[in-house]
């Protein structure tokens, strides 16, 4: 049937279709342009390096659907549904070329790609359409019947689902009519089309009526597709267009490295207090969010009933951006963003809520433990933590606005180079009688043991430092410590938002380390590890940094360290965020435990990349936990659920948080906390 020249009210179809396409495209382009100009308000950010790797990453994540399949579990199969809809969408997108093409080119059909293709492709489309309908029904059931907490049942979602389902239905109808009126056009392999065709004939529908109905279904199908296209940039389905870009522009820096403020002497403002002070990439994140809620259900702040939800954080900022953005464009959305004066004048026209305190409450900003789970789980690779830290930076550096207990912590770091504020000269007192080399006295060492503040000053953690020293000595490692010259690495200061203090500590330390020509560093604490390894290079500190668990495992694997004394215990291991998610050291601690005879290693339900923070990250170690439940107790419950005798950690903060929770919950009788280093020492022959 020649669709192109079929006339409606005397006007040939190809003209009508052209008009429909032009109108739809006009709406679509107008909106996309609007979004693009708002995006350009954002600050500079160079995300064009290493293009090849970027393309590969984006392609892999999208084409293989790793973005959603990576976290499919028996409990949450939604990723599978997404993959089904995605591949279905690809097939149909291809078929739509033909559907629209037929409106212009008479006789266009799949046959131009060969008869085999024309035979099998409709079959594939039918199967896919069935899959998609199943996916949609499943999706609707989940949203409106099962209602998992991470999904919100918005009218928008229902409309989109409705359109997708209708597209499939009209696909079958079109096919059915066409089998009857143009049998050679459609291959009989399209079993559902054929079934529909039979149904129409059985109903006794006239051929001419079937022709008219075919044209009608074709039209409705085309209009639905165009409507869907227009809807995309107005809805969360914007991720269909933007996800590939967002993945392409993802940060190529180590995840654990926060962006430095470089021109501290010159800059007039620090951090972000206005949405337009984010970089364009940070704004792109807001657009791209698919509101899937994966970040939220893994967020310890949200899970412990604090006001922060990373999903809402992103969405609220997106709504705010779309409200404020047009004001910043000075009304002439479409042209260049204009001079500063213009922009300012336009900004005065905006009287909505402020970003900090209005769109995002201060409590939300302080609730984050920077555990990075949101970023780990986000299928479109949104980068949440840097936005939160940027807002903290503004609050801390510009307004000295932070939880009151933090002031003393900053002062302590400034005056005594440790958060506790214990005299800096006593930093190495724990090691007094251990006969350890101090670099200022003898810098001829292979390894610098970076003890960290907790290992130096916290009573409990000092025992772990001593244990590590015993391991070093047993194996005959030529190592030394900085002693009183060691300072806080600055992790907490940086994550609380005090970039100035962080840079002061970091640059001083880098200078000292370079002065001793240090090459290789072993850290006990994952926070020191992450900072030294991933963040010090930003300030010229390039050292080989390994975590104690990696170092110990290496000794075991090389046969230098034998763990032969059995520890007959059921032990679980808690992943520290900054060791696990930020640096993907998941296996070393587990392998050490497995190397100890007698150990029965058991896993908590949330482990590895899905592990939940102990509650102390992001400087929260030093803040009171006034809101919601206590994160450490929530995490302890994960362990209690599987009934181990011992919970092992590889981070001084985690250990402190667990020991507090164990006391609080009064389970000391059955459960103890220990560092992997201590267990290694115990098992040493």
């Amino acid at each position: 049937m020649n669709v192109a020249v079929y006339k409606i009210l005397g006007i040939p179809n190809f003209i009508l279709l052209a008009i429909a396409i032009i109108v739809a495209l006009a709406f679509f382009i107008n909106r996309v342009k609007h979004l693009y100009f708002i995006l350009r308000i954002g600050k500079e950010d160079d995300r064009f390096n290493d293009i090849g790797a970027r393309i590969m990453f984006a392609l892999k994540r999208i084409l293989l659907q790793l973005c959603v399949l990576k976290d499919v579990t028996a409990k949450d199969l939604a990723g599978l549904g997404h993959a089904m809809i995605f591949y279905g969408f690809l097939c149909f997108a291809f078929s739509y070329l033909f559907m629209f093409g037929r409106g212009f080119i008479p006789g266009l059909s799949f046959h131009i790609l060969g008869d085999t293709f024309a035979g099998y492709f409709p079959l594939l489309l039918d199967i896919v359409a069935l899959m998609v309908i199943t996916g949609v029904v499943w999706g609707l059931l989940r949203r409106y019947v099962v209602r998992p907490s991470r999904l919100e049942s918005t009218p928008e979602a229902a409309i989109i689902m409705g359109i997708i389902a209708s597209l499939m239905v009209f696909h079958f109808l079109m096919e059915g009519f066409e089998v009857n009126i143009d049998p050679h056009e459609t291959a009989s392999m399209a079993f559902i089309g054929v079934a529909f065709a039979g149904l129409f004939n059985n109903m006794g529908i006239e051929r001419t009526t079937q022709e008219a109905l075919f044209i009608a279904s074709w039209w409705i199908h085309c209009l639905l597709v165009l409507g869907f296209m227009v809807l995309i940039p107005y809805s969360k389905h914007l991720h269909l267009i933007l996800a590939p870009f967002n993945l392409f522009f993802k940060s190529m820096e180590p995840r654990g490295a926060l962006r430095p403020i470089l021109d501290m002497e010159e800059a007039e403002t620090f951090g972000v207090s206005n949405i337009e002070e984010f970089t364009w990439k940070q704004l792109l994140d807001l657009y791209t969010c698919a509101e899937c809620g994966r970040c939220e259900i893994n967020c310890p702040a949200h899970l412990s009933e604090k006001p922060l939800s990373p999903r809402h954080l992103i969405h609220d900022m997106k709504v705010h951006l779309l409200e404020k953005g047009p004001h910043l464009l000075g009304g002439n959305n479409g042209s260049e963003s204009g001079t500063d004066a213009q922009a300012e004048a336009a900004e005065s026209g905006y009287d909505g809520p402020a970003l900090i305190g209005g769109v995002v409450s201060e409590d939300k900003i302080w609730s984050c433990v920077t555990c990075g789970s949101c970023m780990e789980q986000c299928p479109v690779c949104n980068e949440h933590v840097d936005k939160i830290v940027d807002m903290r930076r503004y609050m801390v550096l510009m307004e000295s606005n932070f939880p009151p207990e933090i002031q003393a912590v900053f002062r302590n770091m400034e005056n005594n180079s440790n958060p506790w504020g214990i005299g800096w000269a006593t930093r190495a007192d724990w090691a007094k009688d251990l006969g350890i080399k101090i670099l200022s006295e003898d810098s001829n060492v292979d390894i610098l043991y970076w003890v960290g503040c907790a290992g130096s000053f916290d009573e409990r953690n000092k025992k772990i430092s001593t244990a590590l020293v015993n391991i070093f000595k047993k194996v005959g490692v030529n190592f030394g410590i900085l002693g009183a010259e060691e300072k806080c690495c600055g992790d907490s200061a940086r994550r609380i938002g005090n970039e100035y203090l962080y840079q002061m500590l970091a640059t001083e330390t880098i200078e000292i380390l370079k002065g001793y020509n240090v090459k290789k560093i072993v850290t006990q604490c994952p926070h020191c590890y992450n900072t030294l390894k991933n963040e010090y290079p930003q300030f010229g500190g390039d050292f080989e940094v390994v975590h104690s668990t990696e170092f110990i495992l290496d000794l075991i694997e090389k046969g230098k360290l034998k763990l032969s004394k059995p520890i007959d215990k059921t032990i679980t291991y808690h992943d520290s965020c900054y060791l696990g998610r930020y640096n993907t050291v998941y296996d070393a601690p587990r392998k050490i435990l497995q190397a100890i005879p007698g150990v029965n290693l058991v896993e908590m339900e949330r482990n590895r990349a899905k592990s939940i923070c102990c509650g102390a990250g992001g400087g929260r170690m030093w803040m009171e936990e006034h809101l919601g439940k206590r994160i450490n107790e929530m995490r302890l419950q994960d362990a209690l659920d599987i009934n181990p005798n011992l919970i092992s950690t590889a981070c001084p903060y985690c250990l402190t948080m667990f020991e507090d929770a164990i006391k609080e919950k009064d389970v000391q009788e059955t459960l103890t906390g220990k560092d992997i280093i201590e267990l290694t020492e115990e098992a040493m022959a």
């Binding site: 501290m264 002497e265 007039e268 403002t269 620090f270 550096l397 510009m398 307004e399 000295s400 932070f402 009151p404 002031q407 900053f410 002062r411 005056n415 005594n416 504020g421 214990i422 005299g423 800096w424 000269a425 006593t426 100035y500």
Partner: protein, 264 residues
């Protein structure tokens, strides 16, 4: 409303203090110096007055070049300018000699209120504020915890904590007030504040600039003299009593308490 805050630089309270072998003083090489914590309350209060009434806040600080860091801390918090008294002749002064130099410097400054910390945490003398008031012929109230300046700026009502209650006084301005914990929460300097502080005026004055002679300040002008520092006796290490259970250890403990500690 103009205020002057007298600030002293002291070793951080967590410092490990080492006494010079001859006992004449402490070794300052390795020390971390900070602003005397009680003076910070004065700085904060001066800034509050400035925010409320306008005018200026000035820091007056005596000491060698190392005190500049402490002065900058105050400037970063928001103080407008500072005067540093730096001359070898000032060294080793007691409270009286110090107050004498401060008083002389204050004659060249405009003030409605002079704040001093209630005491410096290094020598704990608690005298400079009071002597300063006497030398300047001004009223003074010590250990204030609340300050309300009248709208005409001619007087103020201050609270001070006394045993079992609060004493409320009215004092005519200008006056010297010594500040105590509880008066306010000193602010943390903002980064723009820290950057601006580097460019704020710092007026360094020596003995000649004050028009004093070397006999009236420092060691020579002092009424008291430090003759010797000694460290507190070292505490002996604790003893752990070994044994199986309380039946065995308790008698040992009793014996030791009686014979060695001689407390029972």
């Amino acid at each position: 409303m103009n205020s002057v805050v007298c600030v002293k630089q002291v070793p951080d309270t967590e410092s490990v203090i080492k006494i010079k072998p001859d006992g004449s003083g402490i070794i300052t090489d390795d020390l971390k110096f900070v602003m005397n914590p009680y003076d910070e309350y004065g700085v904060e209060e001066a800034l509050k007055l400035k925010e409320k009434f306008g005018g200026s806040a000035t820091i007056l600080c005596m000491g060698p070049s190392r005190v500049v860091e402490t002065i900058r801390t105050g400037l970063a918090m928001g103080v407008d300018k500072a005067v540093q008294l730096d001359d070898p002749a000032f060294e080793g002064g007691d409270a009286f000699a110090t107050a004498k130099a401060l008083a002389e410097a204050l004659k060249g400054l405009e003030y409605d209120v002079i704040f001093c910390g209630k005491q410096a945490v290094d020598d704990d003398l608690s005298q400079v504020g009071q002597i300063l008031a006497e030398l300047l012929g001004l009223p003074h109230v010590s250990l204030i915890q609340k300050l309300q300046v009248a709208d005409d700026k001619k007087s103020a009502v201050v609270d001070r904590q006394v045993e079992g209650g609060i004493e409320v006084l009215k004092v005519l301005l200008p006056a010297v007030l010594t500040t105590q914990k509880g008066l306010n929460e000193p602010r943390y300097a903002s980064l723009p504040g820290i950057m601006k502080a580097k460019k704020k005026p710092l007026d360094v004055k020596d003995l000649a600039a004050l028009g004093l002679n070397a006999d009236s300040v420092g060691c020579n002008g002092s009424k008291t003299m430090i003759t010797k520092y000694t460290a507190p006796p070292e505490r002996a290490a604790g003893k752990i009593i070994e044994g199986e259970g309380p039946q065995e250890t308790a008698p040992k403990l009793v014996q030791l308490l009686r014979e060695e500690a001689k407390v029972i």
